[in-house]
């Protein structure tokens, strides 16, 4: 009876690898045993357990980053079959094979699929994407936020700094200092907050600086790519409106 068992079904992966940040990328192919409902992360875990290429040769395990495994942390973003997305929510059953994995090379590649998203966190610092309430005494409760406003602002708060919008944007590259869609949307979020609004001009002026909002070329790839469905292009246009108003206000009152 054992003779009737068919060959184990496998999933083919073609992974773009790189040993060090400055070394040249190369691809390796892997055949991973298929399990129902597996995702790209569980396939990478399988390669880690048994780092053998499709041709039978041994290799170093593929490096990648992941944390939450439920598409809320943004750590496992990579280019899967040409599109940037999270590996944890990329189900193998729904992907065309062979599955091609590449690092999001808009960012500095650390090793294999691991990238450094430092520039996104620097961008959040640059635009002051927080609400300053620290002080030496209790400031008391802040102003209330209207429920209708809270509802759309909540959508913006879903941003997990995953970097997919920057990878999709044709204007985020080495020749361009554009800050990227994510930080602009965060400016809209914190300017919408009744307490955050008190420092509105600081965030707008950060975006009216070099590499700010003017770098947007309206390709609108960001809104098509965002895994959280954040209305990024609406945020950009709304901040275009606010920075334009701020520009005239400054001109006319100086």
């Amino acid at each position: 009876m054992a003779e009737t068992a068919t060959k184990q079904r496998t999933v083919k992966f073609i992974i773009t690898r790189r040993e060090r940040p400055e070394s040249a990328p190369y691809t390796e192919e892997f055949e991973v045993p298929y399990r129902p409902n597996m995702n790209v992360i569980s396939a990478l875990m399988e390669i880690q357990r048994n780092p053998v290429k499709a041709d039978g040769g041994k290799t170093a395990p593929v490096c990648w980053e992941s944390n939450c495994l439920e598409e809320v942390c943004g750590a496992c973003s990579m280019v899967i079959n040409g599109k940037p997305r999270q590996a944890c929510s990329a189900l193998v059953d729904k992907l065309e094979q062979p599955i091609r994995l590449e690092p999001m090379s808009t960012f500095p590649v650390v090793r294999d699929l691991v990238i450094n998203r430092e520039r996104m966190f620097q961008a959040l610092k640059k635009v002051k994407a927080w609400i300053p309430i620290d002080g030496t005494y209790d400031l008391g409760p802040g102003p209330r936020m209207a429920e209708t406003k809270r509802q759309w602002a909540y959508e913006l708060s879903k941003c997990m700094t995953c970097g997919v919008c920057l990878e999709a944007c044709p204007n985020v590259n080495e020749r361009n200092s554009f800050i990227g869609p994510a930080a602009i949307s965060q400016v809209r979020l914190f300017n919408a907050h009744p307490t955050g609004e008190m420092n509105e001009h600081e965030r707008l002026e950060a975006l009216m600086d070099d590499g700010g909002i003017e770098g947007c070329g309206n390709s609108q790839n960001c809104v098509r790519s965002c895994p959280k469905g954040i209305p990024l292009t609406t945020s950009i246009a709304a901040i275009n409106k606010d920075t334009t108003k701020h520009m005239f206000k400054k001109w006319l009152t100086m």
């Binding site: 200092s177 609406t234 275009n240």
Partner: protein, 224 residues
Amino acid sequence: MSGNSYLPRKLHSLLGVIPLGLFFIEHALTNYSAFEGGQQGFVDAVHGIHKLPLVFFIELFIIWLPILFHGVYGLYIAYQSNLNTGRFSYGRNWAFALQRISGVITLIFVFWHVWNTRVQVALGNTTYEQLGSHMHEIVNQPVYFAIYFIAVIAAVFHFSNGLWSFLVSWGITVGPRAQRVSSNICIGIFVIVSVLFLLSLFAFRGAEFAPSAAAAAISTATFG
């Protein structure tokens, strides 16, 4: 580009619509007079413009300087962009790529076109009265006609898509519905202005703009 790029980029966007977009529409209408009114209609339309007071300064500040800034800064913007329509073949991303490609085509074409027309008038090689027959000679050469045909489509696309972008970049159309409606309006503008320019190109090919026929018309205009 050192220093703040917000203001130059904003100015770039504005100049594309005011004054360049307005001049572009005016140009389309003047050319259309060649289709509607023939040789005489075109001569009258050209005369109407050159009767404007301080026409040199109008040309300088409404056309030449804005084109120079918009064109040179535009090349810099195009240089700063990646084209990734292969990975992201969405309509708007194609428009983004074509905006840069059509901009470069238009800039090269405008230099050549101004050299062939306005500069030749300035050098005394042709006159405003003879422009119609001058164009007739150019567009009756198949290669030049093809160049004009492609460049006119590129220029009209650059203008209509740029108008859509202007509305976003200045924060006028914010939401997705507003941007969809303005996109439809800009497609309409693209079709209408393209037709105006192309009809005039075909009109210039007509026999009535041939140098002999035109010379007769001019002699009656001059000595009649």
